[in-house]
Symmetry: C2
Subunit: 656 residues, 2 copies
């Protein structure tokens, strides 16, 4: 594995040698290409599996430990609270208490609003902020995430469920399907974690998520126009055209000016509070408590003015008491089982994507390690338990997690504090929300989801990668003009198309020698690089697989044809050696070997010799296994392009 440390004198010696060797121009030092020791099959297989599924090496702490210690470590791995709880102290609790109270004040009005997005009664939002955060606090390892219902998942779940069952006509079946979907969302998340397939969520690209979130935010904001304008008959569709038609169709007989006044004034208050919090990071608590203050003020106002009698719609009733059991309500048989699974898988994956992004962001900010697969198990367990206690899909909320972080949370105890506050609210305070106007909830949701529209990210994406931008806009317009599902489908499709394009059309480049060095680089990037007469040096920038092997073979031949035409036109000597720089070729499969064989055949017909430079470990193995190395000759494989050129050039000199 490389000598090290004792290399002090050796390095000096090497330098001298390499100096002296560069004096003898005709005898450059050419290092042999390394043929790695043959690995046996089982070892090769294990290492591949390990790298694919256990890249983070989760069993490292278990190594070389006695059995009893391994058991304790195992329990701690499932319940990290047992580990960090032992060093918990009062100072930490102070931070967690303040953070917990702050996110509780933020989450209660949000929960009531979000549950409407999912077409559920308001108490279900509060239920989902009681049980899941508790479970997460015991099993999760993020210190900053705030658990509960979130806008986008609520909307997605609501849309998908509504496609199957009408929530007004058939409310009981609708709830049951919601719990079923939540159960399977949890199962999906936990399964991905246990099977260590967490990387699957990476297939939704960042750009697609930015577009999807932005589109979902606009869709949600538009939906709020119903409560905000006090419209009674509103479209069930979520696309912008239906909603706008609904809004302007009811302008003369559906809008309620009292509602609009209340809604607008509090929305203005919320946005000002948000602006203050943004300008001065120390005042982060202003936007955090503004929603609760709005709710209290507006409720009091409606109560004393009897505005509900004048058409201002109010919450009316929130069920008192904590989560009832819903174990018996989950569909484990029948038609709805399959539908529940389908909806659960989609909602679970999206919830996971959001939670993973949040966990990763804050872990990077505070520099601690997060095991993605373990997180998924925690989130999954929390949703499975949630589905049995009348909760719908919960995940990490970006806005509340940010507040949690800024309020100085130290551990997941802040989630426990929030959970306790929600518990007290459910037990004693729900009657207070009776006169809360719906317009306030709409205003709170609008001010919350505005943050999901990330202009800056979209602009940056445009600058960096145009294809990503197409994915971003595709997802965005898909959500806004069609539906969340279509937007999601577009996002996934474009993400996959990009991967497929990447693997079918890898880049190739011709190389030239950078003046005054022995370095060969892309001529397009370094226009000052010189081509070597009689040689064509091509670099393949990808593994050679069945998906691109034919393209690579044809592309290399086209480079050669182009070059030969140019040379012929200029009356220069023809190409005699084609050097393929293989450094970026990380792997090759049987189709790739075939393509190389065909390339070799075509080159022989044209009297051009094929030379390979720096094939990697795996590639070299396979070149030998397939006998291709012997076919072209072992002496045609070099460590570097420079070595290959050195060896070819003197020959050229003789022949020309």
């Amino acid at each position: 594995m490389g000598h090290f440390g004792d290399g002090g004198t050796e390095t000096k010696e090497m330098d001298i040698r390499s100096l002296s060797s560069s004096h003898h121009q005709h005898l450059p030092y050419i290092h042999k290409v390394g043929v790695p020791p043959k690995q046996n099959l089982v070892k090769e297989f294990t290492s591949t599996v390990k790298e694919t599924f256990f890249a983070d090496d989760p069993l490292r702490p278990f190594k070389d430990q006695p059995k009893s210690r391994q058991f304790i470590l195992g329990v701690q791995a499932i319940f990290p609270i047992l580990e960090w709880g032992r060093s918990y102290n009062l100072a930490k609790f102070k931070g967690d208490l303040i953070a917990g109270l702050t996110i509780a004040s933020l989450c209660i009005p949000q929960d009531i609003g979000y549950s409407k997005l999912a077409n559920l009664d308001p108490q279900y939002g509060l239920y989902s902020s009681f049980v899941p955060p508790l479970i997460y606090a015991f099993m999760g390892s993020s210190r900053d995430i705030a658990i509960g219902p979130v806008a986008v998942v609520s909307l997605l779940l609501g849309t998908l469920l509504q496609n199957e069952i009408d929530p007004t006509k058939n409310a009981v079946d609708y709830w049951r399907l919601a719990f079923t979907a939540t159960f399977f969302a949890g199962i999906t998340q936990a399964t991905l974690g246990i099977l260590r397939l967490g990387f699957l969520i990476d297939f939704l690209s960042h750009a697609a998520i930015v577009g999807f979130m932005g589109g979902a935010a606009i869709t949600i904001a538009l939906q709020q126009l119903k409560g905000f304008l006090g419209i009674k008959s509103f479209t069930k569709k979520a696309d912008i055209i239906s909603v706008m038609r609904s809004v302007f169709g009811s302008i003369h007989h559906g809008w309620n000016w009292q509602t609009i006044v209340i809604g607008s004034s509090f929305l203005a208050f919320l946005l000002v509070a948000k602006y203050i919090g943004k300008k001065n990071k120390k005042l982060f608590w202003v936007p955090a408590i503004a929603p609760l203050i709005s709710v209290m003020l507006s409720t009091f106002f409606v109560y004393i003015t009897h505005a509900d009698k004048k058409g201002v719609q109010i919450v009316k009733h929130i069920e008192k008491g904590i989560n009832p059991s819903s174990v018996g309500q989950i569909y484990f048989t029948g038609d709805y089982l399959l539908k529940g699974i389908r909806i659960g898988v989609v909602a679970g994956m999206i919830a996971l994507t959001e939670a993973a992004a949040i966990g990763r962001t804050f872990a990077a900010m505070k520099d601690y390690q997060l095991d993605g697969n373990k997180e998924m198990m925690a989130l999954g367990a929390m949703n499975v338990v949630g589905s049995m206690t009348s909760c719908y899909v919960a995940t990490g909320s970006f806005s509340r997690s940010a507040v949690n972080y800024m309020a100085g949370c130290q551990t997941a105890v802040s989630n426990i504090v929030m959970s306790v506050v929600v518990f007290l609210t459910l037990m004693f305070l729900t009657p207070l929300f009776e006169y809360t106007p719906n317009a306030i909830l709409s205003a709170i949701i609008i001010s919350a989801v505005i943050g999901l529209i990330d202009y800056d990210a979209a602009i940056l994406i445009w600058k960096i990668d145009k294809f990503d931008f197409v994915a971003c806009m595709g997802a965005f317009f898909g959500v806004v003009f069609a539906s969340v599902e279509i937007g999601l489908l577009i996002a996934v499709t474009i993400s996959f198309a990009k991967i497929l394009l990447q693997v079918t059309r890898p880049r190739t480049a011709t190389l030239g020698r950078i003046p005054r060095t022995n370095v060969y680089r892309n001529i397009q990037q370094y226009p000052e690089a010189n081509k070597v007469p009689g040689l064509l040096i091509v670099r393949i920038d990808s593994a050679i697989y069945f998906s691109n092997s034919n393209y690579i073979r044809e592309r290399i031949l086209r480079w050669l044809t182009d070059e030969e035409e140019q040379l012929k036109a200029a009356g220069h000597p023809q190409i005699q050696f084609l050097i393929v720089e293989m450094s970026p070729v990380t792997d090759i499969d049987t189709s790739g070997i075939h393509a190389l064989e065909e390339l070799h055949g075509s080159l022989q017909k044209r009297q051009v010799q094929l030379i390979l430079a720096n094939p990697g470990r795996v590639v070299l193995d396979k070149l030998h296994a397939s006998n291709f190395a012997n076919l072209i000759g072992q002496d045609k494989i070099f460590l570097t392009v420079a070595d290959a050129v050195h060896t070819c050039s003197p020959k050229l000199a003789e022949e020309v």
Copy 2:
């Protein structure tokens, strides 16, 4: 684009400079990293599109030509016969005539047998060897391919059609659906060609095809046991278990010994002929005409012995006359339209895969260029016309193409010759096949499909790539134990899984300096390479995309953690610089940039500096566009690892 030719003196000068620079060890020559000239958006977009869809530059001959010439070239592009036909001569015709007669003698008995695999009457096989080869001869550009029905496509089509309509109970609808599927197979092929999406067929990996073909061959051979053993009631399923149950269930009352005797003796004859042809390439005509001889002999034998009265099943009747029109029979509306499209797309793609492989193989052997997309248009046109003239899906047959090649075919005229022979057969000779025993057809099919089982390829795949071998075996067992569709599905799924694995889990490696050089290589491949104290050099072997950005970030941090633990244990100085070798990183997207930013953040917390070596053109562009280059500092980006080490090492020396 690199000076050239006039570089004679310049090169010398450079050498001297580089020599002299290596004397001053403390002032090594460090070349600036090339920032490519900014491309404008449209140009960037066009070049990407061109590289993706027009990699073969099909319009090159049209460039700088007058309008009239462009028109002629255009017509010639659609009908290549107009181009090569002008230099056609008697010598070439002699070759084509012999080859055409040979493949005709091979195709007639095969066609009659293959049409049974598709559950169609024997004449349909002959029809498909009359029209499609004619069309292909005018439009195709392969000189060696022999067009007609082939075993695997016939089986696939038969299986898929049979799932929809019972061919015995509802023969007319079955034919109509077959023509509909053929029509859409042609449309699919032509569309792929016109849209230049031919590369889509590359997504079925070579290994998967080997497995699929082998499995299909065994399935076909097993199906032939019906005719070969003279069993009357036979299962409709194609999996090995159903077939074996059917075969041994009828052992006492279903087998017909006369049939078995005829079948076995001629199968032995065919196999011996095949063996002779394989041993002595000059006797290739022996296996080529053996089937026709078997048919003639056995028909004569049955006719004079009246064996058909003793239970030997015979062909009985082949419709006389050439292809009737079937335009009116294609479903353009109704339920069967969608089914026809679905079946057509699948059968068309598989037919295309086979034809493309054949075309490519023989073009490489004779060293001429084939335009894949144009070939697809020719194959598509031929099947569309075929579907209107009572043909089912035709494509290139590997075995007949090989015979065609060995018989000395020169152009597609050999297909015309074959077509004429089939025409004469249809007009005058079909009554002669009345007494041909089915057992002979079974024997011919068995001896033909045996060649599709490619042990050697499977062994080679095992040697080269274990994952490919899994795909191969998956497809094989899927076809044999379940059905052709399941096998195909397994093949496609495994092929895709491989691509996804490739893009989610790219390789990374730590580099060390090869003794006596300035070259840095993978320490695992070159155990003699030395690590540089205080530095960790990591190479990323892939483009950094959303699908792998998190993995790459985590993997690099793990390399660093591992290394630091080792160093700490040995009491060596800690890592101060992390050099990331970016040569193989061909592209980066927004997620990739984010991952790098997060990596930079984590490294700053650990007091390690991030250095980049040799980022490519596109990557460098994006590092600048996203401002990441400024974030880490422009002076942290180097042309080579050696330059980066040179710059870091003296600093280390001062600090340590």
